[in-house]
Symmetry: C2
Subunit: 240 residues, 2 copies
């Protein structure tokens, strides 16, 4: 499956190895790791076993989540915590169909957070959709367990894709758009000063539903640029 | 969920611990281990973490799979190998509904084999149904990964149980019945001499579909006893 698994700041090399094995089992070739605490190849390869060895050896390490996602088109994050601000209203099964439908024409990234604190709000901002794996009470899965369960469910859904989603803009193109949208919002004082990330997350989740293509993103960026110039001219009528 | 996870001859204590954590996550309290190679509690509890600590500490160790299953009613085995003789025609998703439906009124056992060779034919004989987790190509999941994926799927199915299955006979009661059936078959020379286990497995899988209750099992046992006595009398007309 043309899916990329992204582990953010994993603490234990064993979890990287176990994730590689899980990837191999469900036909996922791309594993990316953002700022791992330790890259102990012996511990990684022991858990990867021969099944996951190739995926493990081909994994790419990045310094930031943003870099790891720049060539991806659709980003889905996993979280165990369901705070009101996290805007998580979907289960794994509910997002699996979308993930499978996108994966036909897009590079989909599945993002998993650190063992201890999961994904931060800044990391969740990078996600177009977020899901949780339903568990009993206050329990929580290990990150490697979350990876294998997620890939299993997506693999099942992939065998039943009816209508693949169109190719959408890459994260790099989208981020330029969101930065322009943010500038416009700021120019008209429409951004809450205390919680910019959550505010921008809401806007991203809303726009993600429209499945914007590269061309549409460029139109929005152009429109924002025009708007910003016009606003600037109004503020400084003698400035140009 | 009133489900029992049974690990047969696990090699690594880490897998026992990871299975305990998986159980806790999906509301499964009963973990049984048959002839583990090592019972290293430190390694078990490290992988169980605080989430799975209680399940791990409450686990029961057995000398034989038969003993581990005697009070269970419905037994389902996991296998990665799909040899023609293994009679595995179902995926995890296909058996998950049955497992969930049985678990309302029965003690269901989910059986997972050794890391290296999985479940042997003798161990598969103990199963009323067998499933495989679909993976890519020749890959195979680690036993702990198989446990977490299986419990996830059953947990999903359990939330949608429409009609629970009736309580069926225990494995102990059933095994008495199968031994009597085997005796009858042998008495009329109806058992292939070279492959008794596979032959009895076919009979078990067939009868399992009829969801036999304790009472029905007793009727069949009584009938077999009558038959055996009659056959014996025919063979030795002067024997009684």
């Amino acid at each position: 499956m043309p899916i990329t698994v992204v582990l953010v700041e994993p603490k234990y090399p064993e979890n990287i190895g176990a994730a590689a094995r899980a990837c191999a089992n469900f036909g996922v070739r791309n594993l990316r790791v953002v700022s791992p605490r330790v890259m102990d190849w012996e511990r990684i390869l022991t858990m990867a076993t021969r099944v996951g060895e190739e995926v493990a050896k081909d994994l790419k390490v990045f310094d930031s989540l943003n870099d790891a996602l720049s060539d991806c088109n659709y980003v889905v994050g996993s979280t165990a915590r369901l705070g009101a601000h996290r805007k998580v209203h979907k289960t794994l099964r509910e997002v699996a169909c979308d993930v499978a439908s996108y994966s036909v024409n897009n590079r989909v990234a599945l993002v998993f957070g650190n063992e201890k604190w999961g994904l931060t709000n800044e990391q969740l901002y990078m996600c177009h959709d977020v899901f949780t794996i339903p568990t009993e009470g206050g329990s929580s899965l290990n990150v490697a367990q979350a990876v294998v369960v997620t890939l299993y469910e997506v693999y099942q859904a992939a065998s039943q894709v009816a209508l693949p989603k169109p190719q959408v803009a890459t994260v790099e193109e989208q981020e330029l758009m969101y930065s322009k949208i943010k500038q416009v919002c700021e120019a008209v004082d429409f951004v809450p000063h205390n919680n910019t990330v959550l505010w921008m997350t809401s806007i991203k989740r809303l726009l993600a539903k429209t499945e914007l293509t590269s061309k549409e993103v460029k139109i929005i960026v152009g429109f924002c640029r025009k708007l910003l110039r016009a606003l600037n001219n109004l503020k400084n009528p003698n400035g140009h």
